[in-house]
């Protein structure tokens, strides 16, 4: 019994998505969590290509793993700045 290459690829990518998602939930560091969430959606976009949905894949790749990650990073920096300033006030 031989598994087709595409199926194997899809399975590996799906495991990648699961690992990325789990890491995003479990990791303590905010930064690593955001990066792994971006990684999960990057894997998801490749899965979309394999499943013949290139339109969705483009959206997922650019918004899911690019812009969302970036906005989260900005948001983290912003909230941390605020904490730092409040500590200074005390």
């Amino acid at each position: 019994m031989s598994i087709p290459v595409l199926t194997l690829l899809t399975i590996i990518l799906c495991i990648g998505i699961l690992v990325g998602g789990l890491l995003a939930v479990l990791l303590d560091s905010m930064l690593s969590a955001v990066i792994s969430a971006g990684l999960a959606s990057l894997f998801a976009s490749v899965v979309y290509v394999v499943l013949a949905a290139p339109d969705v894949a483009m959206t997922e790749a650019s918004i899911g793993s690019g812009l969302t990650t970036m906005i989260f990073l900005y948001a983290i920096r912003k909230t941390q700045n605020k904490n730092a300033s409040s500590v200074e006030e005390k």
Partner: protein, 241 residues
Amino acid sequence: MMLGLMAIIFFNLAANYTENTSLSKLAHYYVEKGPQEIGAANIVTAVVVTYRGLDTLGEVTVLFISAAGVGLLLRRKKAEQNNNHKKINSVKETANTHKSSSEIVETATELLLPMIILFGVYVFLNGHLSPGGGFQGGAIIASGTMFLLLALPKSHISRLLIAITESLSGFSYVVVGVLGVVMAGGFLDNRFISSGTYGNLFSAGAIPLIYSFIGLKVGFELSAVLDRFRKETSNEEDDPV
């Protein structure tokens, strides 16, 4: 317990799953009639822009509202923060000055940025022929903006330009939709411009037009969101809007 319940539900779903071997009736209609009625080689686009055009308008509206919300929230926070800063005084002024990027990064940005934006424009102009469309192209343009903001933190993006382009393209999108009502079958009907040759760049009626507006609107909206976050974090002085 919740997890166990979820596991049972998902197991049932997975166990009962059988793949569809044929298209559903609606999908069949789209595949058969789409190319003739709409003239778009990319059926996804035909469905998104014309058959389900109203939904797309709704999506654009959601994006617009979220962008407006980000603008509103961040602006208010900024005013408060500025007040705080005046109280605290300017001890930490030096903490947030940007280091400018290296020469390599700057040169690469100048080289790559036009290409990224051009690719975004290509994606939304060819939305009716190849995979992609307004949202994807707009997102690519916004990625270009992100790139610019990351590589050259001192760069300035005119908010007036963003606001004008965004509102104009949103307005023209609705105008095109209404033109569809007046001159063809219904709201967002693309057939008031002649269909042209199937598979050419200028074909599929108004779809390239509609997708260009969507692309510009989405791109500039996402850029505005990014720019607001950037402005907020980098504690710059107020710029006139």
